[in-house]
Amino acid sequence: MEAPQYVAARVQQALAEDGRTHELGIRVDIRGDQLFLRGQVSGAEQRERLGQVAHEVAPELHVHNEINVVEATAPGEDEHLD
């Protein structure tokens, strides 16, 4: 059986290089037959695509998509640099 570290690295590489996602900085952890995705993206569709690509690269693992969608809120307090 392939070491889980290599599988995780392959999934992470796919998330960065697959034309549907191109998402860097997603953390991939594997425990037994469970795969966990964590990180932040700008939209719900991107989160779903990342889950899909991870599933395609490691179809034998159960994917837990724990990625958060960051909603940009209105600007807050100004910072004064003096």
Binding site: S42, V70, T73, P75, D78, E79, H80, D82
Partner: protein
Amino acid sequence: MTDLRIAAVGDIHLGEDVRGQYRKKLEGIEDRADVFMLAGDLTRHGTLEEGRVVADELRGLPIPVIAVLGNHDYHSDLQYEIASELRDAGVIVLDDDGVVVQCGDKKLGVVGGKGFGGGYAGKCASEFGEREIKNFVSHTRYIAEAWKVALKEIVADHRVVLSHYSPIKETLEGEPPEIYPFLGSYLLAEAVDTAGADLILHGHAHKGSEKGMTPGGIRVRNVALPVLGRAYCVYCLNCADDLQTHP
């Protein structure tokens, strides 16, 4: 006391599926800021379609808009075409050069470009060994030199550097230290410290921290959208000293 108000954000990563959404967040920006700066990674894959979405979101804003591109915007080898789309929409796109914009009675000089990696003093790549490594480091060195020259040439009341990659590691805190060499280079900070500036803005490090400072004491802000959690942040450069000099 007159402040020069700079709205800034990076890493907005727009695409067709979110068309129109970011623009809504920019409503009223002219009441909050004098200029809007974007620190790269405006698209996801650097396609022309995404570049056009960004151009449409920024088109016709009532304040000057200044942008640099990021590594994502280079992915499809269409960086020049994307920059051209943005320029057609009225955005000033910096590519290792500078511009002066009039903000009220103040001249604001902005110098910048994408920047590049290499790492930070004591733990960085050097121009030694294989051609690939030498190319990597010399690319950053070339950029840093261009910024230094542009900063020295610019005549303005205030000078701001706009980058995608980070000039310091303080604003990377939260990112794994192993990838710091891919997130920026101290050569960028060294160049700006040598030439002088009031503020450096960068993006790229989504998991980094907002606030830091160069070894020379220039304030650095990581304005990547995931770091800010907001559509943009506003930084006010205090012009009180100038007022005292010229009452």
